[in-house]
């Protein structure tokens, strides 16, 4: 669990982060979203003390982060950044082994861990372990960057616009992979982005920042239905907020008991996707299929629409 208490950063007379407090639950993803210059990256970098706060404090599982030397603290916290920041003169395997080496793991354990991570990120160790970063595609480099951040099995992973340099298709894949990893290892993640869709897609809770202040920190649906501030409403997007809200609920969650006519949709599809399918087919209802492929309920256009408003 990460507890941030009235964290403030001032550079001279400028206040970059102003009295921000928030709590990130264990095993959850918190996304900090804001325009450039909102202080979101500075807030993130104060968690692993790449930036030292002017005042306030950060508690990691109840312990003040200032009680140990900054470089030792950082070895316990995963860190991935935009443009991956891989070391160009080191192989993929050496890059991933960075933190385990700093921690003095035995070579055999490092080797095992590197192999395991490459496999998790769908990179064949025989092919990629000895490769240099510049020989990989952008998507592969980004995956190695995240693998490196996870190498020493940190309980907390910080990410600063990790998918910012990727094209939309690779980005969607990277986001899906990240959600997978989070479920698999239960890592607590804090991710910074300027992309509201990404924030809604990945975040269990989303923090909206502007001019150094935290405007609202809540579940994505709550940001849409109860924006605390006109700026939050603008950030989340007024013109398609109903669709955004539909995108947050899956067909499985909203399915009505019983059965009906119409096209079949998977339980994991979002209501937005189901609605789009119904509009496209000119149908009034859809059958929801469970994980095992058998019908587990149905959805009507009216039922979907009711979910798209507060």
């Amino acid at each position: 669990m990460i507890l941030i208490e009235s964290l403030t950063k001032q550079y001279g007379a400028t206040t970059v982060v102003d009295q921000v407090s928030l709590e990130v639950e264990r095993n959850s993803i918190a996304v900090i979203v804001g325009t450039s210059g909102s202080g979101k990256s500075t807030l993130l970098r104060m968690i692993n003390r790449l930036v030292e706060p002017t005042s306030g404090r950060v508690l990691l599982d109840g312990a003040d982060t200032r009680t140990e030397p900054a470089h030792l603290l950082r070895r316990r916290i995963g860190y991935a950044i935009q443009g991956h920041g891989l070391f160009p003169h080191r192989t993929v395997a050496e890059n991933i082994a960075t933190v385990p080496r700093l921690l003095g793991w035995p070579e055999a354990r490092i080797h095992e861990r590197v192999k395991e991570l490459l496999e998790i990120f769908q990179l064949d160790p025989a092919v990629y372990a000895g490769a240099l970063p510049h020989q990989l595609s952008g998507g592969q480099q980004q995956r190695v960057g995240v693998a490196r951040a996870l190498a020493a099995e940190p309980a907390v992973l910080l990410m600063d616009e990790p998918f910012g340099a990727l094209d939309p298709i690779i980005r969607a894949k990277a986001q899906a992979d990240l959600l997978d990893i989070q479920r698999r290892f239960g890592t607590t993640m804090v991710l910074v982005t300027h992309d509201m869709d990404e924030a809604f897609h990945l975040g269990h809770r989303v923090a909206v920042m502007s001019e150094g202040r935290l405007l609202q920190y809540d579940r994505p649906a709550a940001l849409l239905t109860h924006p605390a501030d006109p700026f939050v409403a603008r950030m989340t997007g007024l013109n398609d907020r109903a669709m955004k809200l539909l995108a947050l609920t899956t067909a499985g969650e909203a399915a009505l008991p019983g059965s009906s006519e119409g096209p079949q949709v998977g339980a994991s599809a979002s209501l937005r996707e189901v609605l789009s399918e119904l509009v496209w087919r000119g149908a009034a209802s859809a059958v929801v299929l469970g994980e095992d492929g058998t019908p587990c309920g149905y959805l009507t256009v009216a039922a979907i629409l009711a979910r798209g408003r507060p």
Partner: protein, 380 residues
């Protein structure tokens, strides 16, 4: 073009110059005058063959072979000419290589280096080639092939001093480089870390670079002289107004700019994302410097060191003027005595040293760059 110049030189310039003693003006002799007919004909045929290859054959290997063969024939011819013109046991007569020889040497040398460049040898091959050339030239000199040539006559006279001055030359150039690396590298790292320092540091070093060498020696003589008289310990260390001390200090000062500037540029070129990631993952400042920044900046820093070494080997020559020693001693003595052969005895090894240093350091830079590329190739 080169072929034309070479042919014109062979026809128009003397092949060797005969002098009855070391300082009188020489008496030009052509190839035909100094060699038996078959010998002169053989040399000319070899040169014609090289010219034909230069004009008609594009393949680098054949061009290199022709150039090297012609160079060897040329060297043997000039040695034979010297032997033929020197009466047995005579120590006063001087036979020097003439204009035609030098022009041919340069043309064939260019042809050979051009061919080597086209073959794109690896760094190791280049160093081996250099070592082989040095070994062959050394063996020929040791065997006495060229003993009757005027430069070697000067060597024979100065045989006791030559190795000493050669060592001194290398020591002055290498020592000042080493001192400049020891001071310049940290200074460059500091200037990179504290950008405020860059304008004053680089500006000062830039001003020093613009001071001519002789003037800098002069400027340094006074304070070092005072230091030597006031501080006995300094004098005991060999520091004095003239001699090696001002030379080493001046070369050290000249060397600082390339090393500091290249260190700053090299560090600046290191990916900021990599440095940020390294810090973010828990490397200490020293670890970031040693494991990320310096290895990535090394090729640029080494390029600076190469510039400095080659520059120093040339500039040490001037140190002889203020009693610093080195091969420049022969150059300036030769100028003083109008004995051009003595000048060459100093100048030729200086060129050889500078050339060898350049080849060695270029190879080193390339090896470092290739280490990255070769890791690349292991990934099928």
């Amino acid at each position: 073009m080169l072929t034309g110049v070479a042919s014109a030189a062979l026809i128009g310039l003397p092949f060797v110059v005969f002098k009855s003693n070391r300082i009188v003006p020489g008496d030009p002799r052509t190839l035909q005058e100094v060699l038996p007919h078959w010998g002169a004909l053989g040399v000319q045929l070899m040169l014609l063959l090289a010219a034909a290859v230069a004009l008609g054959v594009a393949e680098a290997k054949s061009r290199l072979a022709a150039a090297l063969a012609a160079l060897i024939v040329l060297a043997l011819a000039v040695a034979a000419a010297a032997n033929a013109l020197t009466p047995a046991g005579d120590k006063v007569v001087r036979v020097a290589a003439g204009g035609a020889f030098w022009v041919l040497l340069v043309c064939l040398g260019l042809m050979a280096t051009d061919a080597v460049t086209r073959m794109r040898p690896g760094p190791l091959a280049r160093v081996l080639l250099l070592a082989a050339s040095i070994a062959i030239i050394g063996a020929a000199l040791a065997h006495g092939t060229f003993d009757n040539l005027s430069v070697m006559r000067e060597y024979a006279v100065n045989a006791a001093r030559f190795p000493r001055e050669l060592r001194r030359h290398v020591w002055l150039a290498g020592g000042s480089l080493l001192a400049a690396v020891i001071v310049g590298l940290p200074l460059g790292i500091l200037s990179h870390r504290v950008p405020r320092l860059q304008p004053p540091v680089l500006g000062t070093l830039n001003v020093i670079q613009t001071v001519p060498a002789i003037a800098l020696f002069g400027i340094l003589m006074a304070p070092l002289g005072v230091l030597a008289t006031r501080v006995p310990a300094a004098a005991e260390l060999g520091i004095s107004g003239i001699g090696a001390a001002p030379a080493v200090v001046a070369l050290f000062l000249y060397s600082l700019l390339p090393i500091v500037a290249n260190t700053v540029i090299g560090l600046k070129r290191v990916s900021q994302a990599a440095v940020e990631a390294a810090r973010g993952m828990g490397m200490t400042g020293r670890q970031v410097l040693a494991r990320i920044e310096l290895p990535l900046a090394l090729p640029v820093i080494l390029t600076g060191i190469r510039v400095v070494l080659v520059q120093n080997i040339g500039m040490v020559t001037v140190a002889a003027l203020i009693g610093g020693g080195g091969l420049g001693t022969f150059v300036f003595q030769g100028i003083g005595q109008t004995a051009i052969d003595l000048v060459l005895l100093g100048a030729i090894p200086i060129v050889g040293l500078a050339f060898s240093a350049a080849v060695l350091l270029d190879a080193l830079v390339e090896v470092l760059d290739r280490q990255r590329a070769s890791a690349a190739r292991t990934m099928a």
